[in-house]
Symmetry: D2
Amino acid sequence: MNNHLRVTVWNENRHEQTNPKAKEIYPDGIHKAIARFLTEAGMDAGTATLDEPEHGLTDEKLASTDVLIWWGHLAHDEVQDEIVSKVQQRVLDGMGLIVLHSGHYSKIFKALMGTSCSLKWREADEKERLWVVAPSHPIAEGIGEYIELPEEEMYGEHFDIPAPDELIFTSWFEGGEIFRSGCAYTRGSGKVFYFRPGHETYPTYHNPAIQRVIVNAAKWAQPVKRELPIRGNVQPLEQIGAAIR
Amino acid sequence: MNNHLRVTVWNENRHEQTNPKAKEIYPDGIHKAIARFLTEAGMDAGTATLDEPEHGLTDEKLASTDVLIWWGHLAHDEVQDEIVSKVQQRVLDGMGLIVLHSGHYSKIFKALMGTSCSLKWREADEKERLWVVAPSHPIAEGIGEYIELPEEEMYGEHFDIPAPDELIFTSWFEGGEIFRSGCAYTRGSGKVFYFRPGHETYPTYHNPAIQRVIVNAAKWAQPVKRELPIRGNVQPLEQIGAAIR
Amino acid sequence: MNNHLRVTVWNENRHEQTNPKAKEIYPDGIHKAIARFLTEAGMDAGTATLDEPEHGLTDEKLASTDVLIWWGHLAHDEVQDEIVSKVQQRVLDGMGLIVLHSGHYSKIFKALMGTSCSLKWREADEKERLWVVAPSHPIAEGIGEYIELPEEEMYGEHFDIPAPDELIFTSWFEGGEIFRSGCAYTRGSGKVFYFRPGHETYPTYHNPAIQRVIVNAAKWAQPVKRELPIRGNVQPLEQIGAAIR
Amino acid sequence: MNNHLRVTVWNENRHEQTNPKAKEIYPDGIHKAIARFLTEAGMDAGTATLDEPEHGLTDEKLASTDVLIWWGHLAHDEVQDEIVSKVQQRVLDGMGLIVLHSGHYSKIFKALMGTSCSLKWREADEKERLWVVAPSHPIAEGIGEYIELPEEEMYGEHFDIPAPDELIFTSWFEGGEIFRSGCAYTRGSGKVFYFRPGHETYPTYHNPAIQRVIVNAAKWAQPVKRELPIRGNVQPLEQIGAAIR
């Protein structure tokens, strides 16, 4: 494992201030809980939150981030468009992006997908079972046949996303729905992974299997080391019109 | 709609001879039931069965079939390898193939997929709900958000197939599993669609939504009219070594 | 064939006003040239251009368009964001979109792809040969092994697009580059096809094979007839907590 | 990097015995040349050849191989079907497989693809340029915009393979063809990568960029550590019929 992988966990960090249940489960915020297990996995994990200047995503911070993790819900609209554009450009330039749960509706995810990213939802303390449908994918390493979460928010199809390049998990919900809950994409020189679980009123990010998926995803999403593609006007590599035709 | 589409429905036709429940639901065999609604949809639908000479799949029959539908279960091993090879070649040459239910374990499907095509299964009269996950796909035309079947056999993941080129349906099962139940592939110049439902002891092929999917799939799978690709040793299209380099 | 398919050909229509060569090749504009062969193929083809009110894309026009074809180059920035948003929503709701040549840099294509859509380019009157790599795709119907264009602008990789759902053509260029020149996507309930050829100073849209691809693509991209997916808060389909567990 | 990755390089090793040019370029055989640079990259690389007992692929050897590399051409038919079946099963159980050049026609590749794997070809000492079309893929790490090979055998489309899960390289050939030359697949719990270059009469496997691709591919193809999926008859995870409906 690359023990120098630099991960920034971004969180809007609002529920934790106002919802006692969320505060009880994540007293330091979801971002700190996630950063903790990434650190334990040997990564160089920091955090950034909405209310910091530039949402904590300065040019320096973005430039030194290999993989960005994104959790947002209540305040998607408060994220400045300029910051969203910078994050999008960094993804196209190679930074990995892991979008969690309600982040499906974030500006950055919608911008990278090109679709509404809308879905069905329900809060009913119901059981979710995430089945592995891509057993050869590194994001499924160490994960059993499925991950069972006794209580979660339901997300249901149709989830308005482009067909994933790789579909890794599909969820079964007690109330009768299914959901494509682990979806991998590439965008430019970067990789994007959407992972469904993590409603703020359940201890989902304390679940070891969920943690393992996020650790795996961070490794998978790390930038590939190569020069960025050259684009624009170019000279020919071969002589045009040379052949007698 | 192409009202000259020539479809052959192949059935091993064994359960209908020995299982009273299957015989009651499909007195003329599953193949006749399917051919009937294809005919009603304006197609030129015929049938072929295991116990006919060459399993009913003579060279002439295959050559005049645009789309072949396959139902088998008990007697996969009795299908001659030579016939399987001919069917495979016809698919590569453009014939559509629709594999139904227990046909996942047929020689022809395994040959075209390259994997074991194994899965979990259970017969427990349980509810299946097939969710549409590809709303823009022609195979989903006229289908609502989902198709609900009150009782079916369960098939569960991991289904050992290559990742589908297009995943159109995913099933929810009452017992806790999910399944990629509508999977589209291309092989050579042909198209292949796997569709999960259709256990012989349930009236699944009498369900109008299931019928609609199969009609849609037959249209989708029809051959594209163009010359077959040229392969083998070829002369250059451009002069090699002509440029001063 | 659906002879009621309603296609709108949108063109920025600027080169044809200012560049004598473009005007000579397309005296009525690229849009009229394309609409003509779509009409000959039995479609109900209209046009819309940048300088019309609302760029010719009123709500009524969009609502009655099954497939929109887009050609733009010089004036991408002049297309109003509000119109782009409406077109994007119509695609998500099922309208097909065919983006031609320099339309790769249009606001609508970039919005639907989520990437920069940048590429290499060169104007050197060089030969392009578009090879069919998906022989079973309906967009390749009636097309030979390749389409050869004696002179075209070069577009080269890396083309910054999401990996196509289906890659149908790949171009060879005399100057040494290759390009993914026929790329199919789905977005929401709609389909998108990008097709590379068509620089304004070459008679590319008078080429019968190029015309055939565009006709095929319009048929392929037509909306699938079904209700739009339901999204938002929903009630459970099964009783939650009913089982003794 | 995993310096315990166990790679077996399989070679039919016939050209090197009979063709002076092949022998001059690869005096110890292509397998030894490849194993050498894998060893230099820190891998535990061994070899196996056609004329060894069981073609060098005993059960023990296969069980202790993480990634198998395959080069064959003249003697595909001499490879025993039983060994092919064992290799296929090992891939489905997680072993990576890298198929090189004329291995496109090997029994193992055809069995895993389900297609003819046929193509166009020409031996004319012509230039090949492999363009990277997937800049975010780990197999492209450290590779520039393209790899240029001054002389190679030509392979041309249509290459009869399933659409790759990930297309990483596409080749330009001097004689006018293109080719999907770096194709990634998953099969069962295993990964498969096809890489085009490497005709026996050119020093292709001495090219550092080609070596880098093969090293990258071996890392990418390594097995994911998790239990194999359970299949067959299973008990329900939820009580069936429990809900009042």
